[in-house]
Amino acid sequence: MSSAGLDLLYSDVEDDLRSAVRDLLADRCPASAVLARCDSDTPYDLDLWRTLRLQLGLAGLLVPEKLGGQGASAREVGVVLEELGGAVAPVPFLGSAVLATSALLGCDTGDGRVATLLGRLASGESTATLAVPLSTAPGSAFPQGVRADARGELSGRVSSVADATAADLLLVPGIGPDGPGLYEVAADAPGVRISAATPLDLTRPIADIELAAVPAARLVVGPTATAALDRALLTGAGLLASEQVGVAQWCLDETVNYLGQRRQFGRVVGSFQALKHRLADVWLEVVSARAAARAAADALAKGDPDTAVLVAVAQAYCAPAAVRAAEECVQLHGGIGMTWEHPAHLYLKRAKSSEIALGTPGRHRAALAALVDLPAAV
């Protein structure tokens, strides 16, 4: 319970990883490029995603080396997400390298098909997503929207799936004759229809998936399927906190920079005490969010029995911290923060959307109530 054994710092290797990702993003993913892409037909930066996958090998961080991955852990993934969040980089990392990969890792990795899929994801050959609404919280009931018939063909609908339009491979939770299962579906299989939805968060596309008697391979069934899905959602929620830290830190830094330059009333605006105090409060939240996100990542990495608590704390704390940082960023930029041409709005949309993703703060607090024995009123 005391989490005294947690390592909340960044290792040297993690610092190096951060630098590599940051340098790449600074070069390839400036705010202007991200903004321009929002108005285009290609919301994802697939070139960047290719570099991250093939050159830096980031898609396989969670995959054991013997299956072709990096054999790293949630700690390293958290560092990458901090940087991707700080750049609101439009790549399907969360859907593929976190959610789908974690779901597969929850299956029997000795199974040849599972191992093959993990190998394809780790090598960067494939991009996958987990076909659940992005708003699904860990601990939710197994989704009932997709049914598998006796021949294993899937039919049904899943809405608001993150990163589906970038995926060639869908991992679909479905209810079959033997109960809940996780199914492998090729995105281009007959009967699959993936329609892009209009997302609040312009830099994380979502889509609705319709399945009409789609041939699918069942990867796992029964309680293991339920556990694999929940593990994926828990991992996703815990690591999303790191992304939120990246978003919040960018918002704070950008605001401090702007207020250090903008002059009004013959003074640098950042010298006004009311604004300084608000930024000090944002700073304190970002600092605390970082500790909470680090704790969740380390617990996930170690398989700590305290993981569920630390993930719930991280989401309950980091999600609103990112929203607040982004809201203050827009407000303290004044008019310019309200314009489309300034990137602040991308971060606001990411922060607010991420607050809903993988469980709202309220959902995570409710989960915590059960975990730490603070029962609801009856």
């Binding site: 992005l134 013959g266 008019g335 309200m338 489309w340 809903i356």
Partner: protein, 397 residues
Amino acid sequence: MAGKEPGTADVLRRVRELLDEYDPVSTPRLEFLRARFDAGLAWVHFPPGLGGLGAPRALQSVVDAELAAAGAPDNEPRRIGIGLGMAAPTILQYGTDAQRKRFLRPLWLGEKVWCQLFSEPGAGSDLAGLGTRAVRDGDDWVVTGQKVWTSNAHNARWAILIARTDPDVPKHRGITYFVCDMTDPGVEVRPLRQITGEAEFNEVFLTDVRIPDTLRLGEVGDGWRVAQTTLMNERVAIGGSELPREGGMIARAATTWRERPELRTPELHDRLLRLWVDAEATRLTTQRVRQQLAVGAPGPEGSGMKLAFARLNQAISGLELELLGEEGLRYGDWTNTRPDTVDFYGRDAGYRYLRAKGNSIEGGTSEILRNIIAERVLGLPSEPRTDKDAAWKDLPR
């Protein structure tokens, strides 16, 4: 009526006479509005001959209600809000007789749309630091500079404009107030896309725009004082609208709550109730302000209402997205359109959330409003100022 302020009975009699003479339903819209203006029922607190009767301002709502009940057309006040809310009171207070005669009637009728050229990229909260220059040239002024956050510039025939006419004196003293013809070839209007995806506002580039001195409002160098009238009326307009209980931003959240039981959670319940209470308390405060105004004893409470509504709108729309859950991940439409009016309630929750962010910036930021409350209402001392006495041209920028 001479010598005595008209009362409710006088005003109601006028309304009946107007309705007797002009059938509100069959009379062509503009003809009815002209007759209403000429009957002094446009804005009853304006002087006779300028659309009013010199009656107490509070009686306007009586007139509006009577005419609405009779099915009379209105002047689409939302479409011409800047003219009605800001230009008109300023022209009334500072305009010459000729200016009042020329501008007020077409303004009220909605024949000529107005916009406001105040804010600049480098002069937002510190509006008095503005850099748009107006240089005297014979009977004209030649104006060059850039303005921003101008609603309706693309529809407007006229603008109220403040520009710097003397850079050698302290910033508040070198500003002059003009009426600017938006059809002048030196005026270029460019849409300014905003956080919601649409372009509700514009940037306006002024290049050697010629404004005759007859379109100056108030004295040369007195523009800051004139602008205060405009700004005060703007904030009253933003913060002071009358709402029924559960009107405004709380309405949609409450409706969603009632209609979608599957979305409810205990924590959202208490948060919604808190905001419902805040909305009701703010509504009652607005009502109290109106009652004070009606008895001629305006309190300082009005200054706070814009601040309160901005906070409420932001908190409620943020909650609404959380309540909607998966639907909150989606947005209606990012297409870059150019709406003429803002409709918070007819669009999706994402739009409300984003648009409400502007409520604490437009028309005076919440930070500036807090300064004003602290200094003018509470009487706390202002901060040390270094920019008040130096010549504008010598200020650091």
